[in-house]
Assembly symmetry: C2
Homo-oligomer: 430 residues x 2
């Protein structure tokens, strides 16, 4: 594709999709092919994908594509006819979770899952409030967008919404080295409940991401979720684990992120990775909660859990098992941890490195003492890695955290291709 | 599949999906294969599909399946990288619409499309109200479910919502034979605006389905939408055409239902049929409205408009053109109209027959004079047609309207297979 053609595609895109759409990079990557951890642009240039969790078991995994194509050629209808796939998929998902979480409802996007979870929580508890982390992202339906505190204007927040300070031991109120970080940060939930009460509300739910993705990748400290869940439940609210980011083996110890904390949520929401790119998402909850919701409402999602979507979901779980993905992610986490944390020793600009499994955040600062966020440096790392054929992202409230979240089939031989240029770029920043 | 296996699948389904899920028929159809207008159950029994609009260009259309499989094997990522498909698809969709509607935003479900349309309308107008038809269905996100007045409890309606009486000339305030049905029913919009004003609200939008699907298939009378749109716009609201049911050639005269009324909506929402089963939906609006929304918000939907979804959408539009679908639906409408309306002459129980193209409602009554709805008879027609290998639905606020809405590739040779048993069943009801 010539430069003129590239410019024309950009112009046509802006014309056809309008100004609400954004692209990654000032000179966006024009991708045409994907395979495993690799993406290829229109010039045949290869990129190591260290960013996209949607392609969970790898871009265009042949086993998943085959399952998709086979079912799409056989039957694709909705869940008001009887079909084996949606039942089998629900059973397989439930088998990955604690026994209590035995009921699945299928939707198409993480937004729909979180919207339905909140709708269920309000109906079942009879309470209206919600508690989420500051700078969270949970999706963008009209209601869920207000829970996405990273983007939604603070001045427009509804009175039924309260936020908690996320457990950030590098930059938050309680820091690395202090005792009892979990309970200390969990105390924020009690404050949020009090704030809601002052506004005349009680919490229908507490919702949070298992790795605090948009907060710059935070691993919940020991005891955090146990304490938060206890406080929320004492106030009559449900606890919702948004596993769109932290789920499906991403953190390496368990299939789902909340399992690392030894808690059982009332509702778990699943999205992006479970379909390896196919629009598939789910709400998993207890029989009692589903039954309480069903006393007033039925639920039907035309595409949710259709035979094709369910076939894709089953195929992804097959790959997870057959390719021993959880074990491999665990090992990759152990391989990456010392290498990434070693960057802190060699580069003054690296203030913190945190994460687990295949989800890592590298926080860049202009000054280690003041911890002044260095957004520009994070952008440079991202852009220069791209020039060297490696795709990463930036995140966090200050945009100064380099986000590393590759497909789960990222392997030791790929790690060097990321770590060497990352080290060199950080060195060059001085 | 043995009876025991069938019962076991039903039991497993209830266990895994919970009580909020519903099935069609007391003894649900267990489908395993689809092809064109045909569906096949686990016993190899063939059903003529006269109900499913999702499979718009036919179940498992090989051209669409091939496009899906090819793109899924090549690349499936999101819209933050540059890709030809989403741009080409937006351009192709826009080419089917008036020039003003030149900006597309892609989502995965009709619910997401209507939720985003309302979100845009509120942000752009600065007004909070909504006007929809009584007994409407627009989806089921937390906000959109309140617009689905067919299901949402009337007692729980928010103060910002007002409804209009749908234009039903058989059962409504203004009846067949009266002059000026369009303007008369359109006057309900003015009343709704007044009702909102009394509650301290102004309308952000009026949203309606082009064929009033859940009202029992109503064809908007001459001048109706022109008048309604004028009143809503005078009150500062946007006009949203929900084309999830009436769109993609369904009504036979134009690609989109609103075009039959000679109006140009401010926002058009597209869903189900545009993906022939694949989770694909869209919001189409004007440049100005998209730009006004973008002044405050960006929009990103992980799966919406991804290369695979866009490839499917393009393939469906290809089929629409190549197979001359609009023209064929038009002709089918002309073939069906006299045959279906003829049922009124032969069967006392048929109170009204209405529709267009390939969307028809047959309203059953116990008594033509009182027009008492006969829900039981509609259920019998549906169930006995199923026994004879024909799938239809029932709809309307009284559940007494037999709904005929087959895939768009329903052809003259299929019509007899529907009409003969329908006629016989109606005769047998007495």
């Amino acid at each position: 594709m010539s430069e003129a053609e590239y410019a024309d595609l950009l112009r046509r895109r802006e014309q056809a999709l309008g100004p609400a759409y954004r692209l990654f990079y000032d000179d966006p990557v024009h991708l045409v092919r994907g395979e495993g951890v690799w993406l290829f642009d229109a010039e045949g240039r290869r990129y190591l994908d260290c960013y996209n969790n949607v392609a969970s078991v790898g871009h265009c995994h042949p086993y998943v594509v085959e399952a998709l194509a086979r079912q799409a050629a056989t039957l694709n209808t909705h869940t008001r006819y009887l079909h084996e796939n949606v039942v089998a998929y629900a059973e397989r998902l439930q088998a990955t979770m604690p026994d209590e979480l035995d009921t699945c409802m299928f939707v198409c996007t993480g937004t729909e899952a979180n919207d339905l979870a909140f709708r269920i929580a309000r109906m079942v508890t009879g309470q209206q409030g919600a508690i989420v982390a500051e700078d969270a992202y949970h999706g963008n339906s009209m209601v869920v967008t207000t829970l996405s505190t990273a983007e939604y204007p603070a001045a427009d927040r509804p009175a039924w919404l309260a936020t908690v300070e996320p457990p950030n031991p590098y930059r938050g109120t309680f820091r690395y080295g202090e005792e009892g970080l979990g309970p200390k940060y969990a105390g924020r939930a009690g404050e949020a409940i009090t704030q809601l009460a002052r506004a005349g509300h009680r919490p229908a739910m507490f919702m949070s991401c298992g790795i605090f993705d948009s907060n710059g990748a935070l691993v919940p400290p020991e005891g955090y979720y146990r304490e938060v869940f206890a406080q929320v439940r004492a106030a009559g609210g449900l606890c919702v684990a948004d596993e769109v980011q932290s789920g499906l083996c991403r953190l390496g110890d368990h299939v789902w992120g909340y399992q690392d904390s030894g808690v059982v949520p009332d509702i778990v929401t699943l999205g992006k990775p479970i379909g390896d790119g196919h629009p598939l998402a789910a709400v998993v909850t207890t029989r009692d909660i589903a039954a309480a919701f069903a006393r007033k409402f039925s639920y039907f999602n035309t595409f949710g859990g259709n035979p094709v979507s369910a076939a894709v979901g089953l195929a992804v779980l097959d790959v997870i098992e057959r390719e021993n993905v959880l074990h491999r992610v665990h090992d990759m986490g152990r391989l990456l941890q010392p290498r990434l944390r070693g960057l802190m020793e060699r580069h003054e600009r690296v203030g913190d490195v945190r994460g687990k499994g295949l989800f890592w955040g590298i926080e860049l600062v202009t000054d280690r003492a003041t911890r002044e966020p260095d957004r520009a440096a994070a952008g440079q790392v991202r852009d220069r890695l791209r020039q060297q054929g490696v795709l990463v992202g930036t995140t966090g409230p200050y945009g100064n955290v380099v986000k590393i979240r590759p497909p789960l089939v990222f392997a030791p031989e790929h790690a060097e291709l990321l770590l060497d240029p990352l080290d060199a770029i950080l060195a060059s920043l001085g």
